[in-house]
């Protein structure tokens, strides 16, 4: 299909989607209206189970089975990305620091800021996971904060240090254990919001670290055999 034909097909179908979507949107309840049948059914349950953060209550109590599915999609996607990006036989991996990727020439201000922020952000991540039960936050958000925090070391210009503080096998087993614990909790003990938050936080954090590690390897270290 040539580019022109493709654009024409898009314009026709896009116009169709636009018309149908607009027709559907004007029949939706008004923006900001008071009719929220699902919300009204979940609220009393969340209050009865004494979970101040209703969203955590929905994710890990009332719809825990649904979250289990999402969680497994996350794990499957992360696993697939790691498998696709593995170093294949025709390639070889340089040792970290073999290039100029070692302690790079960044200004001291950036380096010190990176090292100082790292513990602060790690503590913030743990706080977000641990308090997801009562305040905005939870396993998903905190896991992302934790998983991305350690990459500050790379921004501070030190890839070898990042590779040292992030032993891949440990994160792989962390991911597997967290996923297993979450499946167990969701199937047998749904409603243990705090425990499930912790399991999800660990799993999301480990998955992010693993995926980012593979991307870092591909971007910095892997090369084809000469």
């Amino acid at each position: 299909m040539s580019r022109r034909v493709r654009l024409l097909v898009f314009l026709l179908s896009g116009a169709g989607v636009a018309v149908l979507f607009t027709l559907a949107a004007v029949r939706l309840p008004d923006f900001g209206g008071t009719w929220h049948p699902y919300g009204e059914r979940t609220l009393p349950n969340a209050i009865r189970r004494h979970t101040p953060n209703v969203i955590s209550s929905i994710n890990f109590d009332q719809r825990a089975f649904d979250t289990l599915g999402e969680e497994l999609i996350l794990m499957a996607a992360a696993l697939a990305a790691v498998v696709i990006l593995r170093t294949v036989r025709a390639e070889q991996e340089d040792a970290a620091g073999a290039h100029a990727y070692g302690p790079a020439e960044v200004s001291d201000a950036l380096r010190i800021t990176g090292y100082l922020l790292l513990p602060v952000i790690m503590v913030t991540g743990v706080y977000v996971v641990a308090h997801g039960y009562i305040s905005p936050g939870g396993g998903f958000q905190g896991g992302v904060v934790l998983g991305s925090a350690i990459h500050l070391i790379y921004l501070a210009g030190d890839y070898p240090a990042l590779a040292r503080i992030r032993p891949i096998p440990m994160f792989e087993s962390g991911e597997a254990v967290a996923a297993g614990v979450f499946v167990l909790l969701a199937l047998a003990f749904a409603g243990q919001v705090k425990a499930m938050n912790a399991a999800v936080g660990l799993e999301v954090g480990c998955a992010l670290v693993l995926v980012l590690a593979k991307f870092f390897e591909q971007a910095l270290l892997v090369r084809k055999d000469a």
Partner: protein, 114 residues
């Protein structure tokens, strides 16, 4: 005003698909796909919004009925994090395509040769 937010979601969806259709680079296409996906976040959250209501968190206020719809928020929350890993998977496939075929222009990828 009463239906404008839904139309914004429709606009984001169409903009994302337009970028996908006219893309000359698979990385650009994947990012456009994630933009199209973000239309669902906007649509879900605007449908759940309620005027003069608070966030559905009762840690510092007495539980009330006057809150925005928490169900759509819970769905969006998980969707964002899961969507990020799916984007990572698509980008991993793109890196693999670049390795095997030496190009990331979808127009140059004709057949399914190995």
């Amino acid at each position: 005003m009463s239906h404008l937010p839904y139309l914004v979601a429709g606009w984001i969806l169409l903009a994302g698909i337009y970028g996908l259709v006219t893309s000359r680079n698979l990385v650009h296409a994947v990012v456009c796909l994630s933009v199209a996906q973000s239309a669902t976040y906007v649509l879900l959250l605007t449908i759940g919004y309620r005027k003069k209501a608070t966030a559905p968190v009762f840690s510092d206020i007495k539980p009330t009925r006057n809150v925005v719809d928490p169900v759509v928020q819970a769905m969006t929350l998980t969707d964002i994090v899961v969507g990020a890993t799916v984007t990572a998977l698509l980008l991993a496939l793109t890196v693999q395509v670049a390795k095997r075929r030496g190009t990331v222009d979808p127009d140059e990828l004709r057949s399914l040769e190995p």
